[in-house]
Symmetry: C2
Subunit: 193 residues, 2 copies
């Protein structure tokens, strides 16, 4: 999986071959083919590995305060890799996402990742409403979709426009502003306390 | 350009050949090569054509009321094609966007489209502030970036997740909520009137 990551960063998704992945690992191409019949099969396994890591990172966020919990989840969404120089990887992932309409296996895994992130955020917002931190008139499902949409847009714009960090930082600020005005509520707004 | 559009919808970006484009047009492949040396050159010309059309659609939005103007611009962003069944085309465009980090020509054209959209929205918000419809403490540049980020995320999620219209409709609602709470202001907020 590490070799697949490195090969994707080096060659991108479109040009990737089993040989590239073997070159990044201690295994031969034949050994890779023993486990994964095709590049497609290996990439599906890689997506499953990414989904597990991503889900583990989202589950690892465990703050007492729902607001802090929500912002920590947003940080995981906006920085899906542990690595600082992950631009190549995000690019390869966008290429893979663009293939999803042609490939049920990719689409299912990506949909699962998206669903997991939305559900974790929805649950955090619902908890925040239950304990009176967030307003009772907030729709947790709608807000969770909004958050993943902003994150997705920021990552797409960052990859596409070579704009370095600004889209990511702007997304963080936008989500924070949304939380402050819609979830925490302004004066005169109904709160559940 | 129409033939390129149809060929992209039919074959996607990765598999596209000059022959596919010729097949959708009344010209031969040789005639295409006379005008465009490579597929890359033709796609750059196609992006320029799309940019012109998109810019014309954004310029064509000319409402008196800044709020109405803003929502009409959002509608152009969220529905970049005139066609109802544009999912194939959006998919091909996402594939092309994912190639932008590898291709300066694509990246420059996409950045120009993004810049034009942001500038048009920024200008609309600034006008709205000047005539007292929007709050004076709104940052037009930041808000414009937020709007294009939400639109970009909605389109990426729609293509990737096969979720039909919900991401687009959710983006529209999210932008509307943002405008209502941040630009138009709640009771007790400072307004420029």
């Amino acid at each position: 999986m590490g070799a697949t990551y490195r090969a994707l960063c080096r060659h991108g998704f479109a040009a990737l071959t089993m040989q590239h992945i073997a070159d990044e690992s201690s295994r031969s191409k034949a050994a890779l083919h023993y486990h994964y019949e095709t590049k497609h099969d290996l990439l599906v396994a890689f997506l499953e590995y990414l989904a597990q890591r991503f889900e583990a990172r989202l589950l690892g966020v465990d703050a007492v305060d729902p607001e802090e919990q929500l912002f920590s989840l947003v940080d995981v969404l906006l920085d899906p890799s542990d690595r600082a120089d992950d631009r190549e990887f995000r690019t390869a992932m966008l290429e893979l996402r663009a293939q999803a309409p042609y490939d049920d296996d990719y689409r299912q895994r990506l949909a699962e990742i998206d669903r997991f992130a939305r559900e974790r955020i929805r649950e955090t917002i619902a908890n925040g409403i239950d304990c009176g931190v967030f307003r009772a008139d907030v729709d947790p499902t709608e807000t969770a979709t909004f958050v993943v949409t902003v994150a997705s847009g920021a990552i797409t714009r960052r990859v596409t426009l070579d704009a370095a960090d600004p889209p990511i930082a702007a997304a963080r600020r936008a989500i924070r502003a949304h939380v402050e005005s819609h979830l925490l509520g302004a004066e005169g707004e109904v709160r559940t306390e």
